[in-house]
């Protein structure tokens, strides 16, 4: 393993002098792997959804034997952890941003920056910021075939109309809307004040970017570590912006604008309440979910028109989370080959990317003349097939969401067929978004951040729901050791 690293280093040094011939040389050197073992979560087709056919098609296109290890989605990281400890590392593994940063720092992952620069992906990926967001000290340990996506704020149009309001563009108008939604009769049932404006699953998110469910209240505050404009790591929780955000949240909660149960809500609770027409402003995933929300509202006979709100003035931009990444482990014997034949092909724009995007013909999609779930298609008309596991619904995609793909398909049959609301919400999101930062892990971080985050979350909850003042909150933060831990972590990040 060390030997290979040395070789890679030497190759990098040579690159500086002559980069063009190297590409050709690298191509010759790369040996085609016979077998690739991958470990994936539930974002790749499961067995019940035609994984065998997917695997067979992949093998047919490449001539390589593919072994897919797919643990239960909920237990994925437990199983990843024990597999790594057990020593039988897969060649390729999907990791979320947190685990990506952690495992990269531990030396589990193969640095693919050189392979990436020599590959066609460099040109094919339109928005390099997605890849750059994955770099750690210049090294690249994984590729995301899709952007991370994020949440936009949806407002029920009928509610706005009933209150005679326009979509808000700044916080003042936003509050005004919340007030009308809470005290007025936005659902038009003749009763004033039996609704509330906003709901969220938790007042603060469990993972980066933390603030994505209530962005209008957090605005420019960020409750965790980030690199500021001067390139210095800071803890946003200790900044004044956070204190102001807490005050805004508290005021809105006390005024009854925010669902009283936001603390205990799951995302499912929120969605159900939204479908039940209990509240009107919901910040949730952009893209496909816009359509899901719409269909569920329709099923509930509630006016389903939603406005995807561009980020209000004070918020400026919605956060895009760091997408899950495909990484090659150091246990892989031929990482260059795996990169070329597995990672690079995933975004080739052709048959392979099509497979990763829409799945297998006859299983997930078809062009035959037939009727699927009450819709008749003509011969040659591309359409998705009925979900094998959840009957009554259609497949929408395979692993890569075409709306989020970082590289385009040469031929995308569904480009025009994307439902309007999905397309609009994606456009609104894309027009105002900023990339969440990858946080590098340090010893201090892994030691202290667990306790620190628990304390931060407790403080936010106490201020918003239990009436603790912001001053008291920060006294508690200091007294319970939070301020000291925070400083220690900041110092360790800046010393790196």
């Amino acid at each position: 393993m060390l030997k290979r690293r040395m070789l890679a280093l030497a190759a990098t040094a040579a690159m500086v002098a002559t980069s063009v011939p190297m590409v050709a040389m690298a191509d010759e050197e790369v040996e085609k792997p016979e077998k690739i073992t991958i470990m994936v979560d539930g974002t790749v087709f499961t067995q019940a959804n035609g994984r065998a056919e997917f695997e067979a098609r992949w093998e047919e296109l490449t001539g390589i034997d593919l072994e897919i290890i797919q643990p239960d989605h909920d237990a994925y990281y437990d199983v990843v952890g024990q597999t790594m400890a057990g020593g039988d590392w897969p060649d390729v593994i999907i990791l979320s941003s947190t685990y990506y940063a952690g495992y990269a720092a531990e030396g589990v992952l193969w640095d693919m920056s050189e392979a990436y620069e020599n590959s066609s992906l460099m040109e094919r990926i339109e928005d390099q910021s997605v890849i750059d967001g994955l770099r750690m000290d210049g090294a690249l340990y994984g590729i995301s075939p899709t952007r991370g996506n994020g949440c936009v704020t949806y407002v029920k149009k009928a509610w706005l109309d009933n209150c005679g309001l326009e979509a808000p563009t700044n916080y003042e108008e936003y509050l005004n809307m919340l007030n009308a939604f809470t005290t007025g009769d936005p659902d038009g049932n003749g009763v004033d004040g039996d609704t509330y404006a906003v709901s969220a699953a938790g007042l603060i998110g469990g993972e980066a970017p933390y603030v994505n469910y209530l962005p209008e209240f957090y605005q420019d505050a960020y409750p965790s570590f980030y690199k500021n404009e001067e390139g210095v790591w800071v803890d946003g929780f200790t900044e004044d912006a956070m204190k102001e955000a807490l005050q805004r949240l508290q005021d809105a909660y006390e005024a009854g604008y925010i669902d009283k149960e936001s603390l205990t809500n799951g995302t499912k609770d929120c969605r159900n309440k939204f479908y039940e027409d209990k509240f009107g402003v919901f910040t949730y995933w952009a893209g496909t979910w816009a359509t899901n929300l719409k269909t569920n509202l329709e099923a509930n006979e509630v006016d389903s028109e939603l406005i995807a709100l561009p980020a209000i003035e004070e918020t400026g931009a919605y956060f895009e989370r760091v997408a899950p990444t495909w990484c090659i482990t150091e246990g892989c014997e031929n990482p260059e080959g795996v990169f070329k034949y597995f990672i690079e092909t995933m975004l080739d724009g052709g048959d392979m990317q099509f497979l990763w995007t829409y799945g297998v013909e006859g299983v997930h999609w078809s062009t035959a003349a037939e009727e699927v779930l009450g819709v008749t298609y003509e011969e040659g008309e591309f359409h998705m097939l009925e979900n094998l596991e959840t009957e009554g619904t259609l497949y929408t995609k395979a692993h890569i969401d075409p709306m989020l793909a970082v590289a385009p398909l040469d031929y995308d049959p569904k480009a025009d067929a994307i439902p309007e609301e999905s397309r609009i919400s994606t456009e609104v999101f894309n027009s105002t978004k900023k990339q969440a930062q990858l946080v590098v892990s340090t010893d201090e971080m892994s030691m202290l951040n667990g306790d620190l985050t628990t304390l931060k979350n407790e403080i936010v909850a106490l201020v918003v729901t239990n009436g603790m003042t912001v001053e008291e909150a920060y006294e508690k933060f200091e007294a319970d050791g939070g301020a000291a831990w925070s400083q220690e972590i900041v110092d360790s990040l800046n010393a790196k």
Partner: protein, 319 residues
């Protein structure tokens, strides 16, 4: 842990050990499967407690760090908070659940209508089959501080609360534990009666007949026949569960939230939050250290109670 049976033990002691072992040879054979399972699935993994003296994230080989993990653990105020919460929550829960199960079993045993008895038994077992995730979401709705909340609506309708001052049972530091105990009683009491009902069904009816002849009424029979028969099982169940007291996790995990951390955090959820909110990659060394500490506390609890049980029950421990 030995049953004092004076007559037998005097007779047995005269026999040489090898002869006694020979006498019980079939029993050793019968115990063999138990031994094998115990060694494979309990004792072999137990070597893992050595990790508590190391720094280990499952990737690089564990590095020995001595008592570092323990020092760090004991210096964290949040650790102690979680520790005391674990003890309090799970012991009170255990006493409440067992107490309720005993009362319910005794009353169930007195139901004369067989159909009602069967129906009641089936119904009270049902909550055991709902997973904690579902239980939490249904009870969240019942205890909701909005107009959907059954409990709040009821309290308002009988005039205990005023509209607008609904109690957020699961979101307030004051009420959370109460709600937690109620939900636990709902979920586990019925299932808890199984073991007591089985014990009750084994009581020799002659005892009741004899008591009836002596003129004992229902209460006296319950007091002098039924309850003593149950006592052995009650003590066994209590002590066995004490060993598991420190394992409290899922029921708390699904019901807790950020606002009630100070009353609701238990050791297992503390470790979970440490890992999940920290770097994502678990520090198995630290979590094993906490686990070892939990085991030691559980061990102490069991030994103390076993000792008390021996005193109360003339020398019999639970095992």
């Amino acid at each position: 842990m030995k049953k004092k049976n004076v007559n037998n033990s005097v007779a047995v002691r005269k026999v040489p050990l090898s002869a006694r072992i020979y006498k019980y040879r079939w029993f050793y054979l019968m115990f063999l499967p138990v031994l094998i399972f115990g060694i494979l699935f309990y004792y072999m993994p137990m070597l893992g407690v050595l990790l508590s003296f190391t720094k280990y994230n499952g990737i690089k080989d564990p590095t020995f760090v001595g008592m570092d993990n323990f020092e760090r653990m004991f210096s964290m105020p949040k650790f102690w908070e979680a520790f005391w919460n674990t003890l309090e929550l799970s012991i009170i829960k255990l006493l409440l659940n067992t107490g309720m199960a005993v009362i319910l079993s005794l009353l169930l045993n007195e139901i004369i209508n067989l159909k009602l008895k069967k129906l009641a038994q089936t119904i009270i077992y049902l909550p055991h089959f709902m997973s904690w995730v579902v239980t939490a979401s249904v009870w969240g709705m019942i205890l909701s501080p909005t107009s959907e909340g059954l409990v709040n609506t009821f309290l308002i309708s009988i005039g205990v609360l005023e509209k607008g001052s609904e109690v957020y049972f699961l979101g307030s530091v004051k009420w959370w534990r109460f709600a937690y105990y109620v939900i636990n009683i709902w979920k586990d009491t019925g299932w808890g009666t199984i073991i007591f009902m089985a014990t009750l069904s084994g009581i020799n009816p002659e005892l009741y007949e004899a008591a009836a002849i002596d003129g004992a009424g229902r209460w006296k029979k319950m007091r002098y026949v039924t309850f003593p028969a149950l006592l052995n099982t009650i003590i066994t169940v209590l002590i066995l569960n004490l060993a598991k007291v420190m394992n409290l996790f899922e029921s708390v995990f699904v019901l807790q939230n950020d606002a009630v951390v100070s009353t609701a955090q238990v050791l297992q959820t503390y470790i979970y939050a440490q890992t999940f909110n920290g770097s994502g990659i678990p520090n198995y060394g630290y979590s094993t250290a906490v686990g070892l500490f939990r085991s030691l506390v559980g061990c102490a609890l069991v030994l103390v109670c076993n000792y008390l049980s021996k005193k109360v029950r003339e020398g019999r421990g639970i095992v």
